[in-house]
């Protein structure tokens, strides 16, 4: 089964993360910290905020440029996750019908504005998270999260999900194919066969987990994952983190598009 075209194509993110650009060479801690501050800044806006969010696209754009990342690939990944964000935002226009903005004769309700704001925030945060993995590598991100105090259980968990996602989807794919081949139309596709199938998958997974654990203890696993490569937080890292953080703070406090609009208005007058 072609797992690469499915799901997330996480593997391609890993391929991207093995590039050698100034951004890739940067200490992962700097990148994770900067992205964290970025997400905090974006999420902290009020729920009707739209215009002030737009300048934040500067950061992902710069990262894409510096990291030599393919825009179309990232855009497609965003589309895959979009339905989840829509699910959260789509109810707003139904509940919040108070007209907030008028453009000519058309009144736009607060619900549509907040829905739009949710989508924008989703696009910004998800995009930046994808970029972070593409310039740091999954392993790098996990290692940093652990250093920054995330309990080891979670990072080890994340690493295993990353490694065994393909094995699991393969296994699920084989099982569902076996079912499809013998169900002749719809009779075998009912919920009554689906439930045991999922249960069986769970049991197989537990078995496999047992065997993997055995392989790990045979090679001296004691609970921690060795991390290769040295980390170095130098002046370049400090400049990267502080520079972007300053930019985020300014963008958070000053609504740049609005100010620009006012300045233009002043000029026209």
């Amino acid at each position: 089964m072609a797992n690469d075209s499915q799901l997330f194509n996480l593997n391609y993110l890993d391929v991207l993360s093995r590039q050698d650009t100034p951004l890739h060479r940067l200490d992962p801690r700097a990148k994770v910290l900067t992205v964290f501050i970025f997400i905090c800044a974006v999420v902290s806006f009020g729920r009707y905020e739209v215009s002030a969010l737009l300048p934040f696209f500067l950061f992902p754009a710069a990262m894409i440029g510096l990291g030599n990342l393919p825009v179309s690939y990232l855009a497609r990944k965003l589309l895959v996750i979009l339905p989840f964000a829509l699910l959260i935002g789509i109810a707003n226009p139904l509940f919040d019908r108070e007209v907030l903005v008028r453009i000519g004769p058309v009144g736009i309700s607060g619900g549509w504005v907040s829905c739009c704001s949710i989508l924008l925030r989703f696009a910004l945060t998800a995009l930046v998270a994808l970029i972070l993995i593409a310039v740091t590598g999954f392993m790098g991100v996990c290692a940093v999260l652990e250093r920054l105090g995330l309990p080891r259980v979670f990072t080890v968990q994340l690493l295993f999900i990353h490694r065994y996602l393909f094995v699991l989807t393969d296994e699920a794919g084989r099982m569902s194919r076996a079912r499809a081949l013998r169900s002749f139309g719809s009779r075998g596709m009912r919920l009554t066969t689906f439930c045991p199938l999922v249960g069986h998958l769970l049991l197989r997974t537990i078995d496999r987990a047992q065997r993997i654990y055995l392989a790990m203890v045979s090679r001296g696993f004691t609970g921690s994952f060795p991390v290769r490569g040295r980390l170095c937080f130098g002046s370049r890292e400090a400049a990267f983190t502080l520079g972007w953080t300053a930019a985020f703070i300014v963008l958070r406090l000053v609504n740049v598009p609005q100010e620009l609009g006012r300045a233009l208005e002043g000029l026209v007058r």
Binding site: R163, L214, A215, M216, S218, G220
Partner: protein, 252 residues
């Protein structure tokens, strides 16, 4: 060189559900010996292998690896001495890249970074796949996975290699190459398999397990000529020792 000895005495083991998997197994393998463990499905091969590096502890009986008895206290030392290669390489390769995977054991042994580097390079060289170093394991072919799985164990410099069905799922050439590779290793080898042709090629000694007990233990050639024994243990003569299907002549 007593490190390389495996001694199993009157080993009994029953699973929590009451299945008596091993009922008094005894054998001794000495330095450099290549021993095959054959038997039908459910004869107790896997259970026996799981004891050899201490994943299961005997319900009754004793195991000695080299100078050490197998107990909870000696587990770490024994796991370093006995390198275990699993049947499914996907279970064994759990790190993001081949390099990380082969380095996993040495790093956990607390070796310094340059020694780890050297061991990884050497292990990958021994299985002839140094070029796969930076690949993720799920991108490898079956044969490559198997080689890397063996390298992950070799990098810990074990004295004893335990292999569970090393040739399953390999194409004929990959199988042949793997056999050639294993032939070159000077370790004490314990190989559990249904591939009796490989056994005939690799192991001078064979232990036949049947219903949790040792049914026969002796030179491979002798055991494979004993038709009555093989039939009783649900086994068949290796193809290379069977009569030619075209001319009907028996080769042995």
């Amino acid at each position: 060189m007593s490190h390389h000895i495996i001694e199993v005495t009157e080993l009994r083991y029953s699973y929590p559900d009451g299945t008596q998997a091993l009922q008094g197994v005894s054998f001794r393998a000495v330095h450099g010996e290549s021993v095959a463990i054959v038997g039908a499905n459910g004869a107790g091969k896997s259970t026996l292998l799981l004891h050899l590096n201490g994943y299961l502890l005997p319900s009754e009986g004793k195991i000695r690896i080299g100078d050490l008895p197998l107990t909870r206290g000696t587990l770490l030392e024994i796991r370093r001495t006995v390198g275990m290669v699993f049947q499914d390489p996907d279970d064994q390769l759990f790190m993001p890249t081949v390099y990380d995977d082969v380095a996993f054991g040495p790093i956990n042994l607390g070796l310094p970074p340059d020694e780890v580097e050297m061991r990884v390079t050497k292990a990958l060289g021994l299985v002839e796949v140094p070029h796969l170093k930076n690949k993720p394991p799920y991108r490898l072919s079956g044969g490559e996975k198997r080689r890397v799985a063996i390298a992950t164990v070799l990098s810990m410099s074990p004295d004893i290699l335990v292999l569970d069905e090393p040739t399953t799922g390999l194409d004929p050439l990959a199988r042949r190459q793997l056999i050639g590779l294993l032939k070159n290793f000077r370790h004490t080898k314990i190989i559990a398999s249904h591939d009796l042709d490989m056994v005939a090629d690799l192991c001078e000694r064979t232990i036949v397990l049947h219903e949790g007990a040792v049914r026969a233990d002796g030179p491979t050639a002798e055991i494979f000529r004993n038709d009555a024994l093989l039939a009783a243990c649900r086994l068949e003569k290796p193809l290379s020792m069977q009569g030619c299907p075209v001319c009907g002549k028996d080769r042995t």
